[in-house]
């Protein structure tokens, strides 16, 4: 009896601690979104209150939509992210298949070479990357960003996908070979569909740093037509720093897509981290 009560007390304590930290994690996001729907006076008078019919206002969003080309920024971010993920998945899966399926001279060395990039950040090569992009005329194009992000995402993708591809049954592939399938057909028609869950994990892991990145858009593609959401909101906020309605609305607009994607993919993401990352 007393043991049960003690454990009840412990569970309650755990819940209190977790709720407290959850509040710390969510409070800033809540504060931003709630205040973005309020009039300027209400933002300052009662920052913690929810918008009421009297204080409700969309003036911030109107300013953002009128002044900044957020639709364009979203489009740029989406193009860069989607194309980069597609290339990382395709090239990464192909390389992972070669490394895990075939024995050839230099296989282990190749794996090590491709794994270097997991630990060494691509940013350290920025000086020469910018020179290369200037030389090839790719500065201020989305192609420059896509190339950089593809290179950045490949090492981890190859690493995770080759681990998964080792688990695909050899009998299946050999059956395919006996049936006369080419190696390409075995890869595209047998192996790829089987590693789809791993591909989803890789896609989510690749997406987050690309969508969030500020460094490369700032350096490689700062032009108005190629700004990503991250860079666009950074510059917009810098210009409108005293217009709190606009700043909070711009922040909220940048949060929404992340929130929506997270709600959709959170299970995939968390399963990916808790299953594959620590072995």
């Amino acid at each position: 009896m007393s043991k049960a009560r003690a454990s009840f007390g412990r569970t309650a304590g755990v819940h209190v601690a977790l709720i407290a930290y959850t509040l710390i994690a969510l409070f800033p996001v809540f504060l931003t979104i709630a205040n973005s729907f309020k009039s300027r006076n209400a933002i300052f008078r009662e920052p913690l209150a929810l918008p009421t019919p009297e204080t409700f206002s969309l003036i911030g969003y109107q300013t953002v939509l009128k002044q900044g080309d957020f639709l364009g920024y979203f489009q740029n971010s989406t193009i860069v992210t989607v194309v980069s993920i597609a290339l990382v998945l395709l090239f990464g899966a192909m390389a992972a298949f070669a490394l895990s399926e075939y024995r050839f001279r230099g296989n282990a060395l190749m794996g090590l070479y491709l794994a270097l990039g997991i630990m060494i950040p691509i940013r350290l090569g920025t000086v020469a990357i910018l020179q290369g992009m200037v030389a090839t005329g790719l500065v201020n194009t989305l192609t420059a960003l896509i190339l950089v992000y593809t290179a950045q995402g490949l090492p981890l993708a190859v690493f995770i996908l080759s681990e998964f591809m080792r688990t695909v049954s050899d009998d299946l592939k050999n059956a395919g070979r006996i049936d006369g399938l080419s190696e390409y057909a075995i890869f595209f028609r047998l192996v790829l569909p089987l590693v789809r869950p791993a591909m989803a994990t890789v896609a989510v892991f690749t997406m987050i740093p690309i969508w969030k990145d500020l460094w490369f858009p700032l350096i490689l593609a700062p032009a108005e037509t190629t700004k990503t959401v991250t860079l666009g909101s950074q510059i917009f906020i810098g210009q409108f720093v005293t217009n709190w309605n606009a700043v909070l609305s711009a922040l909220s607009l940048a949060i929404f897509p992340v929130l929506i994607l997270y709600v959709i993919f959170s299970r995939q993401l968390i399963r990916g981290i808790t299953a594959g990352a620590v072995k």
Partner: protein
């Protein structure tokens, strides 16, 4: 698997067909990775040995490094950034890991209700971009808006409030804590996964021996999750010595006030691109990038060759 592979190589040794498909599979990844990542990295390292002397771009040996370490125009900024970067890292290790472990330990309690909700909510900040995180916290900590003083007031701690981000002696700590707030989800998740991987038999055996609660955590679980803590530490190290975005959004490229939040990433940005009156300097930028590369390489090697080898791994 082995058997079938040897069979394949046997066949190929007899017929010796060129297995072009291996090359086709490898080539796209290899080209992009090499051209956009490895070659620029090598080229950047190479440029740290070159500089413009009397209008001529020439090999100068280690003199860029000498300038960075000893020249009065550069050395103060560099050592300041390096020192701040270590403090930035130490604050992460001291705050992020204990809280991450505590959260993971609580979440891994069997049959805890709402644990999926807590997990999802606490991980959310990790996904937000630095721009969002930086500005939200700038607003919250701003004395103009008064959210932070108000919240402190409700718990009777209003005297504690100061414009932390604006004072040289607290700005670095404040920025580091914002970064911890953002990244806490990663150690939490990795350690949570490690805790889930501990087999039930080990825990049951401990309970039979009367080891429960706190002492069970310290004596049984903590030693078993040390490899995960090692991974978290090296990820934090690499991330911190490569950090830039958060400081840039909160404090600007000058990493104020008075350079008190300047770290190697912001120093690299200002040096390479120039800022306000300072002109961009490619060679010195490459030199700073080379230093960052060496620091990260040293940290990763230390982890791979010393720490990870000494760590006992338990196979279940």
């Amino acid at each position: 698997m082995n058997a079938s592979n040897t069979k394949m190589t046997d066949i190929s040794e007899i017929k010796r067909p060129r297995r072009w498909h291996i090359l086709v599979f490898l080539l796209p990844a290899l080209i992009v990775y090499t051209a956009v990542m490895i070659l620029p990295l090598i080229e950047t390292l190479r440029q740290s040995f070159f500089n413009t002397v009397e209008g001529q771009y020439t090999f100068v040996g280690l003199s860029n490094f000498k300038v960075l370490f000893g020249d009065p125009r550069w050395a103060a900024d560099f050592w300041n950034a390096l020192k701040n970067n270590f403090i930035f890292f130490l604050i992460h290790m001291a705050v992020q890991n204990p809280i991450g472990i505590a959260l993971a330990a609580m979440l891994s309690i069997p049959k805890l209700r709402f644990s999926a909700f807590y997990r999802t909510a606490i991980f959310l900040p990790t996904l937000l971009s630095f721009v969002i995180v930086g500005f939200i916290w700038k607003l919250i900590l701003s004395p103009i808006w008064g959210v932070a003083p108000f919240l402190l007031d409700t718990v009777g701690l209003k005297w504690l409030f100061a414009p932390w981000l604006g004072k040289p002696d607290t700005a670095l700590i404040a920025v580091s804590l914002i970064s911890v707030w953002q990244y806490i989800g990663i150690p939490m998740m990795l350690i949570y996964a490690a805790l889930l991987n501990i087999p039930d038999e080990v825990i049951e055996a401990a309970e039979l021996d009367g080891v429960t609660g706190w002492s069970q955590f310290w004596k049984i679980k903590l030693p078993l999750i040390l490899p995960a803590i090692g991974i978290v530490s090296i990820l934090t190290f690499v991330g911190n010595f490569n950090a830039f975005d958060l400081i840039y959004t909160v404090q600007g490229a000058l990493a104020g006030p008075d350079g008190s939040t300047d770290i190697l990433g912001t120093l690299l940005y200002r040096t390479f691109f120039g800022f306000q009156l300072q002109l961009g300097d490619r060679s010195m930028g490459a030199t700073i990038a080379a230093i960052m590369f060496l620091i990260i390489l040293a940290g990763v090697s230390l982890y791979l060759f010393v720490i990870q080898r000494r760590m006992r791994r338990y196979q279940f």
